[in-house]
Structure formats: C-alpha cells, structure tokens
Symmetry: C2
DNA sequence: GATAATTTTTAGATTTGTCTAAAATATTTA
DNA sequence: TAAATATTTTAGACAAATCTAAAAATTATC
C-alpha cells in the first residue's frame, strides 16, 4: 500500500505522461506545487518500490505496477465525483477538491460497491472516462477545433481543466457536457473560436477552447 | 484545522470521558494502541491548541472547543456508517474501519449534504445517536440487565462494541437493533443472561450482555 | 511516613516528507 | 566547442509523529 503522498505523485506522473517520453522532475514539481528537490527524493522512493523507472537527470515513467496504481486512484476519484454530483447534488465546479480527498480511501470493496450503487457510470461529470475494475476505459477524443470545418456540428464530450473558475465560466456561457455546437469561424488574430449554441453565437477564447473535449456529431 | 492524528486523539479522549474525571495518559495510550510517551507528546500539543485542559501527571479533559471538534468527527463517522449500510449494503459488522477513514474528510458542506441525502438519520447502524449540525444528540440508555425483573420485556436499542467478531456473534444469535427480548433469568454463577427471543431461549454471556444497549418496552 | 509499585514525563533517536543552498549534470547558444 | 543557462541532485536541516530507555512524580502498601 502507498501513502497518501505517494499516491498523489503517481497520479501526477500519470497525468503528465504523453506518448513514451520520460516525465521531468520540474514538471512534476510544478504539478505537485512543490520543489524539485522534494520530487527527486520521492522519485527515488517510488523507484525503490518499483512503481516508476527512474534515471538520474533524465526523468521518470510509470511501470506497469505504478500505472495500475495510478489508474486505481483515478477510478476512485471519478466515481466519487459522480456520487457527489448525482447523489449529493454538488455542482460540477465544486467536486474536484473533495474527490482529491476521497480518492485515497483504500478499500477495494468500497470502490466496487460505490460503482454498483452508481450504476457503473462510464464517465464522470467532466466527461472523463471512468476506468473499470480491471483498469480499462474508453479513449478520450483528441480532436481540436482547428480540425473542424466551419458549419460542422460537434458535441461537447468533456473538459480537460477542472478548476472552479473555468467550470463556472462554462456555466455562464451555457455550455455543458452534451451541448451541441456548430463551428462558425476561428479568428486568425487570436485563435478564438466562434460557435453557434442553439439560438446564440458565442466566442470562446483560445484558452477556453483548448480545454474542451469535442467529437464530431454523427 | 486538526491533523488526522489529532482528530483521533480527540475522539479517544471523548470516548474515555465519563462524568467529570480527568482521562489518564495510559488509558489514552491503550485506546490509541500506542505508547504513553507518545500520548504525553500529543497531550502537550492539544493543550497548546486549547483543545484540552492538561495537567502534568494528572490527565486531560476536553475543552468546549475540543468537545465540539470530537462531536463533529463522531457525527461524520456515524453518518458515513449509515451511508455504507443503507446505500452500499455493507453489513453492520463491516463498516467501522471504513468510517474511521471517511470521518476525517473535512468538508462541512459534504457532511451537510450527506445528512440531507440520508434523510437526517437519528441513529447509526449500531444504535448510536447521530449528533446534529449543532452537536446535539439524544442520550444513550444506561440500563443494565441487572435492573430488569424476570418476565419484563426490553428492546435492543444499540451496541457499545463495534468489533466485527462481536457483531457477527449477534448475527448468529439472531439479535439485531430493534429485537424484542424478555428476561428469563440472570445466573448468579457467571452473571450470564437468559432471554426469550421470539420462540427461542438464548443465553448471553456477561461479556455479551454488557455491550447491549437496552430499554424497557413501553 | 518510608518504601515499593505504578504511572507519567523527559531525553534522545527514527521515519516521512519537506525545505534551502550549493554542487553536479545537461542543454542551449554563440 | 566553450561559455552561459537551465535542470536536477546532493547535503544538511526541519517539523510531525512515533519509539525506547531512563528519570521523575504520584499512589499504594506496610
């Protein structure tokens, strides 16, 4: 079993892992809001436990064991988010920090029963896929607005930023998971995205647009 | 805000407090499964934070502030136990350790919404009263079998021991919260208690009987 | 009321996770 | 490729919570 802190490092490394590249110490330090020296200490410890492969001055990547541990935590995080929103009626902008605490409750039996109780949800309130008990989950769309042609319709499937201020901003815009959008235009000047949402046309800044997970409507 | 460990000490001191007496270092050490020296360290720390009144070599008692903190934790513990049994269908013998973890989740808003969701339960699955948001709760019956006359009927209102093995023993005897019992006799020899439960007569050892919280049937 | 037994505290060490400052390595730039 | 810059690691310290062993205070016993 890992400590609360070790679990958070594993999760951070998981989220920073793209393709096959090693994750750098500084990147982890920023994600964890701590210092590079502290990260080095922890990387040594995680390597001792065979949770990561770590090379001095190069970086780290999760082993199979480490990835499984990270996915188990993410599964719990997302199931608790569903519970908080569906059952306790929290807003999608309020649940991230609470789920960060709840995800460390260790019982597998609890996770299994929570999953049962919630009816085996496939996605959390932010559209992120929930791994099943074996760690399998559906892939996330990597479609960008730049790949869409004006006039095409898309669906908002999820968001890749979970901060309250971002989610509240989407609420004010009237955007939610499942919303149907039609691309009007992308401005050359600042890459802002103009879309049609029902009767209204709205402008999404590049910063907003890049955190929207979208799929072409079939 | 208190640490996880500080919260557990406050809870231990609360449970060991009877009448006005000071709680001794050794008693806390046994309850916390730790050494007296560790307890002394922590008592100093809790006293610094005005959570307890502590006199060297004498013992400790909770201040108003400390008692409120302890009751808040107990409220969360008992609400989570209701959730685990009522919603997730755990047995009453399986929930203690899980609730020990969940009780440390700090959000007041979460506690309030959990209480709403559960319909403001007044007692947990072991019959213990659940404090409301202000810390008020119904008193626990202190009636002993020795105060009952043979032939009188009583109701099982709760249990004062939450170990799995004790609760599984009650399950095997067919006893549960709400069961109606009629006292047959108390043996002089070993203080064991013979009761009528429905069609059956059963014998409760002194050790079992003393952990049953009972009330006279009206 | 002195001594024995019990309880509690102190002193000093350990573990976990963190930090700062300085040294080492790697990368970029000229 | 040598110097400048950026990144990472080491060394040494600190805070929280714990421990063991020894000392101090309290309580019980004769």
């Amino acid at each position: 079993m890992q400590s609360y802190t070790e679990e958070n490092y594993l999760k951070a490394i998981y989220h920073l892992s793209t393709n096959e590249a090693l994750v750098q110490t500084n990147a982890i330090a920023e994600q964890m809001q701590t210092k590079a020296a502290s990260v080095t200490d922890m990387l040594k410890k995680l390597a001792d436990k065979s949770l990561i492969a770590y090379t001095r001055y190069q970086g780290a990547k999760l082993t199979e064991k480490g990835r499984n541990a990270a996915i188990a935590i993410i599964r719990k995080h997302r199931l608790w988010e569903v519970f908080l929103v569906e059952k306790l009626k929290f807003g999608w902008d309020e649940v991230h920090d609470l789920a960060e605490e709840l995800e460390h409750i260790s019982s597998d039996e609890l996770t299994k029963r929570l999953d049962d109780f919630l009816g085996y949800p496939s996605h959390d309130p932010h559209g992120d896929p929930i791994p099943d008990a074996s760690g399998n989950f559906s892939p996330i769309s990597a479609l960008r607005f730049q790949q869409i042609k004006p006039g095409e319709s898309i669906l908002l499937k999820g968001v890749s930023l979970h901060s309250s201020s971002f989610l509240q901003h989407l609420d004010r815009l009237g955007l939610k998971i499942g919303s149907e959008l039609r691309l009007v235009a992308i401005a050359d000047f600042d890459q802002s995205v103009e879309v049609q949402l029902g009767e209204r046309k709205i402008i999404l800044s590049e910063n907003v647009a890049k955190h929207l997970i979208i799929e072409k409507k079939l």
